[in-house]
């Protein structure tokens, strides 16, 4: 069964943000189901829906690693379980 996690990346736009995040995800067996990205007034804004059911990381570990990666490239990366968005926006 899929275990969906929504990853959001917000910060100043630079080259290679998506590449860096995707490298981390693929390195830990995290599958990307959907991805969308926009630039809002110079700020990079990305959302990914991922499946972590086959990952070697627990949710907490994944959060920590992504948070560290975010610090390294100067953006804010959050990971949240998908249910909160489903509950709020779907009846």
């Amino acid at each position: 069964m899929q275990k969906k996690v929504v990853i959001t990346v917000v910060g100043k736009d630079t080259v290679g943000i998506i590449a860096r995040v995707c490298t981390v995800l693929s390195g830990h067996g995290i599958n990307i189901l959907d991805i969308s990205q926009t630039i809002v007034s110079g700020f990079f804004n990305m959302m990914m829906i991922t499946d972590i059911s086959k990952s070697d990381l627990s949710f907490d570990e994944m959060q920590d690693i992504l948070s560290e990666t975010g610090k390294e490239i100067g953006v804010d990366i959050r990971a949240q379980r998908e249910e909160i968005f489903d509950m709020m926006h779907r009846i």
């Binding site: 959001t8 949710f59 959050r78 379980r81 909160i84």
Partner: protein
Amino acid sequence: MITQGEVLETNRMIEEENLDVRTITIGIDLLDCIDPDPDNTCDRIYEKVTHTAEKLVATADEIERRYGIPIVNKRVSVTPISIIGSAGCHIANDFVKIARTLDRAAKTLGIDFIGGYSALVSKSMTEADELLIRSIPEALYITDLVCSSVNAGSTKTGLNMDAVRLLGTMIKDTAGATKDRGSIGCAKLVIFCNAPDDNPFMAGAFHGVTEGNSVINVGVSGPGVMRHALESVRGADFETLCETIKKTAFKITRVGQLVAKEASKELHIPFGIIDLSLAPTPAIGDSVADILCEMGLEYAGAPGTTAALALLNDQVKKGGIMASSSVGGLSGAFIPVSEDRGMIEAVNAGALSLEKLEAMTCVCSVGLDMIAIPGDTPASTISGIIADELAIGMINQKTTAVRIIPAAGKKVGDKVEFGGLLGEAPVMSVNQFSCENFISRKGRIPAPVHSFKN
């Protein structure tokens, strides 16, 4: 699949508009802790509370992390202690021992508050009830996390005026006992009419005797989210206004429902209710008064405030009810003064008086809440204020309550600071005319005619 816009909207609510879950409250039944020896009662209470809620804080932290939604308070409510102590407590100090035990258990658990140092005396008081009420000033003086409440009236029973009279004095005594801390004891004492059994909010939470062994009740928040949503419908007609409130309340409540269900699953404790109340905090933008202003009032308290609040309260319920499988508790808009920056500003601007607040409580939960009044206010006047507020609840078949702070040594224009979620309160003026002869009458105000429905 969820869209980027929806994800951004949710995260904006959390990061910029103070969306949070105000509290996860575990209600714990203590009837099996009753013992003729008060020390045994205390031991059993400590054991049961610390065992049942052992994982509350860790679980709340885990859920917070999983969904990125702050869970501000973790709390426990227990069966009214006047019942639990009835077999063993023969002097007020025996009850104080239980208060100390509750405080110790709360500190062991690392929770924010423990409620249920309470008595249900809507018709009359047992000896134990009266002893507990008389022990409240001392109990709130020596403890940090214990909250106390007294149900002194209901639509079915009328108002217990003997309790109302006694409570006026106890509130003064509590203020005096905690004088060096801004009379903070009174911020942890609520007098109710029609108190609900499943309220997760403090200071009035207790685990009703109609409840099961343990239960999880969740209180949501979200005034900032509501205000922001209404910014987008400035000048629109009432239908649009109401639709916007309902949709926003739905979204806020769904988050509460998710958190409640998760907590229930992880803690193996049944889910009770979601309390739909919009609960403000002293944080900028997290204000119910600001919502009223966004609806078109210059300040909370201006003419039109009661109507605006009635509309808000009703639409929040209509939106929230569908979002949760079970709604209960107080479920209204809270209008505490000290905990709401917009309310404080309204008082300071001269827009909001005690009398207007009383009128506002006719249309919203819960009542006169976190209001500081001069320390030299007579006990009979405090009892009169309580009686007025409880009469509103009794006649309108709704919960009303009074949490009032006669701030020792303070006068109108002064300020009392409590800190944290309790905020700071401007000392408000009180009608100077006496109700002494009315309050000194013995007995009770009978139940209203519309209570005879059988």
